[in-house]
Symmetry: C2
């Protein structure tokens, strides 16, 4: 067994420094979806790059038609594998702002958690690997393998820059395994390694009616109301049993394997407790599947936002000229976002109510991925997590999407390890996003073991 004593001493002595650096990065308002935050985006990229420069890695900014990507690498180690750490410095938008107890870009520690937009998704989790490698570099231990980093700035809006650049980066990113910490543990005190992610196909629907808002008294009854037409269209997309109604939508969805269903049944999970945690009266979903199966391994349809007409105080009596919705489908592996886009367009063409026109805007998409739970690096990863967190991880899937993962795996022909340090209730895309501070330190410690155990 390797001797981690000087590394552990370094980690212990640098707890405050590691926290300060996380706070610094969290203060940068790097919202990739918001065009007014372009300068904060640059600032975040440069912050990450400087961190790599500081620890002595070869480093560069990869530029594209959008936010810069930060690339860094340690020297090649002959005979040892190469690990690519993928993460992102961009964050989700913050609204509704008024629901934040403390401002999203003024990180605040309460009850052992650090509250800020991006705390868990993904600045905090991503930094664990940066800090652990810095610790290796600082304590002058010879790295047992080559570590590459690719930290991008568009994960929250579909990784377009990286997607376009990817084919040209095949040599630079060549690796044996990708490591990503951008997901959750199974629960507090129960770490996990995630072997599957869902894909996503995200759209905006816009329903257009009269050329201007109309007085609903004078005109009500004569024209199709675009808001109501939108409601009808959305409603018809999913039946009462929770089945999505796009033609052909389930054609490439493979049945769940019995072994997976059995494995998940052994996990500690209570529908009742989960409903209580989320604050809903009851859980609902596709007939014939458990809650974990619905979240991890079945496709879904969700509406993310409704727009159109009057939203102010009191009442305004108009037939709005248009109405819109942000929607997405979560996909399972083998479902292709481009095919779903076509199925949606076909559905809309067939179901558009009379008297309105509908536009489908394709915002972004990405495939899901499932990796072999018995891959060659899994043993080392499990050991690293167990040492970092003090408990053996369980094997799970995750309902979220990291659209670029499937593309990278396909291009690079490598394995992937999804090692989430977050928690389900971190509020990754919600107000009051948080990250457990102790999990930040545990993640750094697990990562510090990872380089050693993946090499052997």
């Amino acid at each position: 067994m390797a001797d981690f004593s000087s590394l552990d001493r370094y980690l212990e002595q640098n707890r405050q420094g590691h926290l300060n650096e996380l706070l610094e990065l969290l203060r940068i308002e790097s919202v990739s979806a918001d065009p007014t935050k372009a300068s904060a985006m640059s600032q975040a990229a440069i912050w990450v790059k400087n961190r790599f420069v500081q620890m002595g890695l070869e480093c560069e900014l990869i530029e594209g038609n959008g936010p810069s990507m930060v690339y860094a690498e340690s020297p090649k180690v002959p005979g040892a594998p190469t690990v690519l750490v993928y993460g992102h410095y961009d964050v989700q938008p913050c609204d509704p702002l008024d629901l934040w107890k403390t401002p999203p870009f003024e990180p605040t520690i309460r009850d052992g958690n650090i509250y800020a937009r991006g705390a868990t998704d993904d600045k905090g989790q991503m930094l664990t690997h940066v800090q652990s490698l810095a610790a290796w570099m600082a304590t002058s231990q010879k790295l047992p393998l080559q570590v590459k980093f690719l930290i991008e700035g568009e994960e929250e809006k579909g990784s377009e820059v990286l997607g376009h650049a990817l084919p040209g980066l095949k040599e630079k990113l060549a690796c044996d395994v990708i490591v990503i910490s951008d997901s959750s543990q199974y629960g507090p005190g129960q770490p996990a390694i995630t072997y599957g992610l869902r894909g996503i196909a995200y759209f905006e629907l816009r329903v257009y009616g009269p050329k201007a808002d109309l007085h609903s008294g004078s005109f009500g009854g004569a024209v199709t109301n675009p808001a109501l037409a939108l409601a009808r269209l959305l409603t018809e997309m999913k039946n009462a049993d929770g089945k999505i109604q796009l033609e052909g939508f389930y054609d490439s969805v493979k049945p769940l394997q019995e072994s997976e269903r059995e494995m998940w049944k052994c996990l500690d999970f209570s529908d009742e407790a989960f409903a209580k945690q989320l604050g809903v009266t009851e859980l609902t979903g596709e007939q014939g599947f458990t809650t974990l199966e619905r979240r991890w391994a079945r496709p879904t349809f969700d509406v993310h936002g409704l727009m159109g007409g009057y939203q102010g105080e009191g009442g305004k009596t108009i037939i709005p000229s248009w109405a819109g919705a942000k929607i997405s489908f979560r996909l399972v592996p083998d479902q292709d976002p481009a095919t779903v886009a076509k199925q949606l367009q076909d559905f809309v063409s067939k179901h558009t109510p009379r008297g309105v026109t509908v536009e489908v805007i394709d915002l972004h998409g990405g495939c899901g991925v499932v990796v072999d739970p018995n891959s060659r690096f899994m043993g080392g990863a499990r050991k690293a997590v167990e040492e970092g967190f003090g408990k053996a991880p369980v094997l799970i899937r995750e309902g979220g999407s990291i659209p670029i993962v499937a593309e990278m795996v396909a291009l690079l022909g490598c394995d992937v390890l999804l090692m989430g340090w977050g928690l389900d209730d971190d509020g990754a895309h919600s107000p009051n996003e948080k990250f457990c501070l102790e999990d930040y330190y545990r993640g750094i410690r697990a990562s510090s073991r990872l380089w050693e155990y993946l090499a052997s």
Copy 2:
């Protein structure tokens, strides 16, 4: 026949003054639905009051729990009837602001129209009666009947103050006929007298799901999406034939009279031209009725605004914690808003999807009204309009609502004359609201005849 020569001379000489006064009033941002505009609301009330004071009427502000109402009266004329002019100085909200070619409170004249929020609804139309009475007072002609004015500041949000005050104002408002100009001519060059208005029942629906926005990847599939639940609820409220699905909704709706249907069939109306005017691909609506019947004499259901979730640039992948809609039902006479509110609550209770809760907020309501086209004042009104506009008016109904009208008619036991000077395409509740300047002057002239002809 009365001699109107000195009155007409006065009107001719004061065209510019009448315009200036309209511009002044239009510059006041009296949006009753917007709590931040309270001081503009007072300013508008005082402006109207000062105008009455200036012309020598007895005048007062009637205060309640909301915007002041302006009341004025000329002396009682023994043996002659009393007319009550009802109007309002408040206006609709202005959004979407970016669709206005010129700012809503900077009135601008283009192509013979005056563009401003409130131009037609109701500042411009209401002022015609103020100006015509001022002309009578200024030319020292003895008024042939008593004229009372009640100009309120809450018509656009349901006339709550007036509604509460009404029983106590029975004596003050006592009259033989109410005159209201807050509707439209049948078309350009074709004036009309309106003998029916629809009622309204206006609500906000709020659908509550999880206690906070959830990541739609991690949680999608496990909970009911509040935006989708709202869409389903709205969709189920009206079937494909345009019939409203609240239980008992049509119970008190009387069939249209054949004589009315025949009269309206004689009106010059083209579905094709109307669709083109509104910019819709085709007209739609309740099966079995013509477009005019649907707009004037059948109840309808409309959605005025959709709210909830992410509405910004790009995509955000959340299950929103809540979603909402502003909705209303237009009612025909004999339908009671309070009954409809109960029917809606029942419907919502029965149709609320599992996993969410729904709140019904009753915003405002008012009954419709239909008056006898052969009432004792109709002859004089038709003559006045013909002289003012140079063409005999047709008799029509109107789809809009002036909720307080039915209450006043019931309380005061009087007739009502709805003499609209606006046009269908004035955009009463839309961006770029306008009023034809020449119709403003024609309205003043028609009103100047009205006092004489209603007296005889």
